[in-house]
């Protein structure tokens, strides 16, 4: 199937549905399906840099994919130039995926699974735009780290890294973000995918240095519908998936007070993000992925 030959909305919506995606075992295939479906829905908008319209040449720099060298120019000038098209930037995308235990929560599918889909889709999308991509899997430590690069095979490696992530320990933003600062000096885009069950002030302390370093941060705040509006009929003993602590709550509290507290927390996180000039995108894990991708493209466009 060729891009643009069909605009079947139902088909692309179906492909973006996390419920459908969770039945696919190959994350790369998921990412491809999501992005292709998503792109089809964009109606060839040049705004987002997916046209093949030539813009300019620029000299080849280390780290660029050699496949993009225009060999015709090289034969005439004996110099290597990279051919740039509209929508392309000389940027890189670093995906930070939270694999803390709380990310394992979810009624139909876990937040981590959704996060994986999102991360893979972002990587695929960035790859299409010839951005360098990297990934870091973290909980309260850095579990895996893959530096951003646009070399051939990077997408496959990043998706494999994302695919191997498992929900394990608690969440602590400080260490992973410090590590990130130490390794990534170049300015770029940073997509943090997490449920952000942490202290907003501590989050600010962790993320602010990135912002000050010139990184453009987008925070994908994943929450399950049951976390936003829990529905219980009787007193229930809840066990924290990260700390293992238990607490008994009554249904009235969970129906009235709890959603308010969660909303307040989200607002705090959003406020924190704004304070760092970062974007905050709250995502219900029952939603299709296109809104998240939209948010990313908008963000990228703004920061390009």
């Amino acid at each position: 199937m060729q891009l643009g030959q069909t605009d079947n909305k139902n088909a692309h919506n179906r492909l973006l549905d996390p419920g459908v995606l969770s039945s696919l075992s190959n994350l790369e295939l998921v990412a491809k399906a999501v992005v292709e479906g998503f792109v089809m829905g964009l109606h060839r908008s040049p705004k987002y840099g997916f046209s093949q319209e030539f813009v300019e040449y620029r000299p080849y720099a280390e780290g660029d994919d050699p496949r993009h060298i225009d060999w015709n120019v090289y034969s005439r000038t004996d110099k290597t130039f990279i051919k740039l098209f509209k929508g392309e930037t000389n940027s890189h995308l670093m995906i930070l995926l939270d694999t803390s235990a709380s990310m394992g929560f979810g009624v139909s599918h876990s937040k981590l699974q959704y996060g994986k889909f999102l991360a893979a889709s972002l990587a695929y999308l960035a790859s299409r735009q010839h951005d360098a991509i990297g990934a870091m899997i973290f909980d309260d430590e850095v579990v895996q780290y893959r530096p951003p690069t646009s070399k051939s095979g990077t997408l496959h490696g990043v998706i494999h890294t994302i695919d191997s992530a498992e929900a394990t320990e608690g969440t602590a933003m400080h260490k992973p973000f410090t590590r990130f600062r130490e390794h990534v000096k170049k300015r770029g885009l940073v997509a943090v995918i997490s449920d952000f069950y942490c202290d907003p002030d501590a989050l600010m302390e962790s993320v602010r240095p990135l912002a000050l370093h010139g990184q453009d941060v987008i925070m994908f705040h994943l929450l399950d519908p049951d976390e936003l509006n829990p529905d219980i009929k009787e007193s229930t003993l809840y066990e924290d998936m990260e700390s293992g602590e238990s607490i008994e709550v009554d249904p009235i509290f969970m129906k009235q007070d709890y959603p308010e507290r969660v909303k307040a927390h989200i607002a705090e996180i959003e406020k924190t993000a704004k304070g760092m000039n970062a974007d905050h995108v709250l995502i219900n894990t029952n939603e299709p992925l296109d809104r998240a991708l939209h948010s990313y493209l908008t963000f990228r466009e703004k920061r390009a």
Partner: protein, 674 residues
């Protein structure tokens, strides 16, 4: 505790099942994982804790249920010392209270009860006691106990009766009742100690010493002096309208006394005579009532002494005088003019009882009247035809009796009508054959007092083959039965294997014939079983075929036999003074019952005899310091096994109920909220 079936303990592994189920349930329902509880707040109402406790309680109940069930199957047994377990310091006070007729005299019995109360009060802390009532029998009133109040309350329940106490019999009964006790004994015997209650053999009054245990006898006598007591010793009918009454003074303390003697016939006072009666050498003074008018049948004669003495219960004596006309009896004969009829009629009419013979021609006899007669006579059994035989069979079955003889008409028979015995081998008889009596069952009531059978000249007899159901009472040589009896249903069939016309034998003309007919009549009419005068607590024989089988009414007119007992009871005890009425087939008779005259003799045992008795009892134990309990030999204490499976079953039922209620409540909790 020990277990009878310990292998069932392996079933305790089943307790793992409820634990496993509860664990599953707890894991499945109690906790729910959530991403973060950082925004949650502890519920004020700890429903979960309550539910958890409820779960634990439910599980505990189920485990307990299984535990009890397994335990019940293992049949646990506890071994507890028996009640009144003895130690070396334990003394067993065996309190025996005389409640015989003589204790009705004056305030004897009240004094006896007071003495018993004092004994109960004096019981030591380590002592045990048991209470027995002694009269005609020895009954346990209070089992071995350490509680004196039980003894006191037991004493209050005892009342004297009309029975006679024989000390020898009492000691024998007591031996068996206390045989299982392991303590050293003190037998406290509270009585008036009548001389007449003393055993014939002094040794019979010494209790057995079991396992060398010491026994002491403490005698508590309620009175120490002889008390005069006049009573009616005898009532005799000496002639037509003449009644002789014998009075006796049962004590030597009074030589003469003025008494009014009244004679009542059937509750109507006929005559009263007042005299000063002296106590003669033989102890009996007589007075005679003349011109006494009796009614026909059994007459109730009540002789009463007034004024009453200190034992008024023996101042009246009940007697029965049978003034019945001769009893009717049917004589069935085919030849009313025969010699057999003459001999039988004469013998029956001259019997002491006297019978009125109603001669009937056997060929014209209507069997429907048979039920009016307790017994009948047939002079020749061979004259009984088949239809009459069946009627007679029914008659005997229902309790009637037949005295029959062989005769010329029986010669052609192959078996005896009614009796059913075979007449063997078609043998014929000739005068050439002679017989001798070879065996006599003298224990049989019909042959009780008749002698002379061996002198009979017997020339003919039917070769009857006695079967297993026939009882040969007199046999001839060659094992030929001469007199045999067979019980048929409730009645009897008595067959004399000779003709009664003086041709087969000379029996009809011998004296033994008259006495035999009288005895046989008494036996067949069941009069032999009936003694018209009895003492209290004696037994009236009620053999299944006896005259008393029927109904018996006590002096108050209440029937004593249930419907089943009317034909099955063998005897009945006569426990009250007065007149018992016995009604049976063709018989309606009275039996007079009086207290044993020996109980009226209030002469006390000699003091020396009492001391000897006490000493001999202690001496038989080989130790005279018994009361102190310094030397005892106590058997190893025997434990009493107590099984508790019944208790466990009750607990199981309670647990099941509680578990059901709790489980149901928990179920309601779930359904009500979800």
């Amino acid at each position: 505790m020990s277990l009878i079936s310990p292998l069932f303990l392996f079933a305790l592994l089943g307790i793992a099942l409820p634990i496993w189920l509860h664990r599953l349930q707890t894991n499945a329902t109690e906790r729910e994982k959530f991403s973060s509880i950082m925004f949650m707040e502890q519920s004020q109402k700890r429903v979960h804790v309550q539910r958890k406790l409820k779960y634990l309680l439910l599980m505990a109940m189920r485990i307990l249920f299984l535990l009890l069930l397994v335990l019940a199957f293992t049949r646990p047994v506890f071994f507890a010392p028996p009640e009144g377990a003895v130690t070396e310091d334990t003394t067993h006070h065996v309190i025996v209270l005389d409640a015989s007729f003589s204790m009705l005299e004056g305030n004897s019995f009240a004094q006896a009860q007071t003495l018993g109360q004092e004994l109960a009060d004096a019981m030591g802390a380590d002592d045990i006691a048991s209470l027995y009532r002694a009269s005609g029998t020895v009954d346990i009133i209070t089992a071995t106990t350490t509680d004196p109040s039980l003894i006191r309350s037991g004493l209050n329940t005892i009342e004297p009766d009309y029975g006679r106490l024989d000390i020898g019999a009492m000691v024998t009964a007591l031996d068996s009742l206390i045989a299982n006790s392991q303590a050293n004994f003190i037998i406290h015997f509270i009585s008036d100690f009548q001389q007449s209650g003393q055993a014939v053999r002094f040794a019979d009054m010494i209790p057995d010493v079991i396992n060398g245990r010491p026994v002491a006898l403490n005698i508590h006598q309620v009175k120490t002096e002889n008390v005069p007591n006049w009573s009616v010793a005898s009532v005799e009918i000496t002639g037509a309208g003449s009644v002789r009454v014998g009075l006796i003074n049962n004590s030597t303390s009074e030589q003469s006394a003025e008494r009014t003697v009244s004679l009542s016939i059937n509750d109507v006072v006929q005559q009263s005579l007042t005299e000063i009666f002296a106590a003669p050498a033989d102890g009996v003074s007589y007075i005679t009532f003349e011109n006494v008018i009796f009614e026909e049948g059994d007459n109730r004669l009540d002789v009463t002494l007034t004024p009453n003495d200190s034992l008024p219960e023996d101042d009246v004596r009940h007697t029965v005088f049978d003034n019945s006309p001769p009893a009717p009896v049917i004589l069935l004969s085919a030849d009313p003019e025969s010699l057999a009829v003459t001999y039988l009629t004469t013998a029956l009419e001259t019997a002491p009882r006297g019978y009125q013979v109603e001669l009937q021609n056997i060929n014209d006899f209507d069997p429907r009247i048979l039920q009016r007669y307790p017994w009948i006579v047939i002079d020749d059994i061979g004259a009984v035809n088949e239809s009459l035989s069946q009627a007679l069979q029914t008659y005997v079955d229902s309790g009637g009796a037949i005295l029959a003889a062989a005769g010329e008409r029986a010669l052609g028979l192959t078996n005896i009508p009614v009796g059913g015995q075979n007449i063997g081998g078609g043998l014929s008889f000739s005068r050439a054959t002679t017989y001798n009596v070879q065996g006599i069952n003298t224990a049989h009531p019909a042959l009780d007092s008749s002698v002379g059978w061996n002198n009979l000249a017997i020339s003919r007899a039917l070769p009857i083959q006695a079967d297993d159901n026939s009882n040969v009472l007199i046999s001839l040589n060659g094992n030929v039965p001469f007199l045999l009896e067979r019980n048929i249903g409730l009645g009897r069939f008595l067959l004399l294997n000779t003709s009664l016309n003086n041709t087969w034998s000379d029996l009809p003309v011998k004296p033994v014939f008259v006495s035999f007919i009288a005895e046989a009549a008494r036996h067949l009419s069941n009069e032999a079983l009936l003694v018209k005068e009895q003492v209290i607590n004696s037994y009236l024989q009620l053999g299944q075929n006896g005259g008393a089988s029927g109904q018996v009414y006590d002096p108050d007119g209440d029937s004593l036999l249930s419907l089943a007992d009317t034909t099955q009871a063998q005897s009945i005890q006569l426990s009250d003074p007065g007149y018992y009425r016995i009604v049976t087939l063709g018989l309606d008779s009275l039996v007079a019952v009086n207290p044993d005259p020996r109980e009226s003799d209030l002469t006390l045992m000699d003091t020396q005899a009492l001391q000897n008795w006490q000493t001999m009892v202690a001496g038989s134990a080989g130790n005279t310091e018994l009361v102190d309990g310094t030397v005892i030999t106590v058997n190893e204490e025997e434990s009493v096994a107590i099984e508790i499976w019944r208790v466990l079953l009750i607990l199981l039922a309670v647990i099941v109920l509680a578990e059901s209620l709790l489980g149901n409540r928990y179920l309601r909790f779930n359904t009500g909220n979800t």
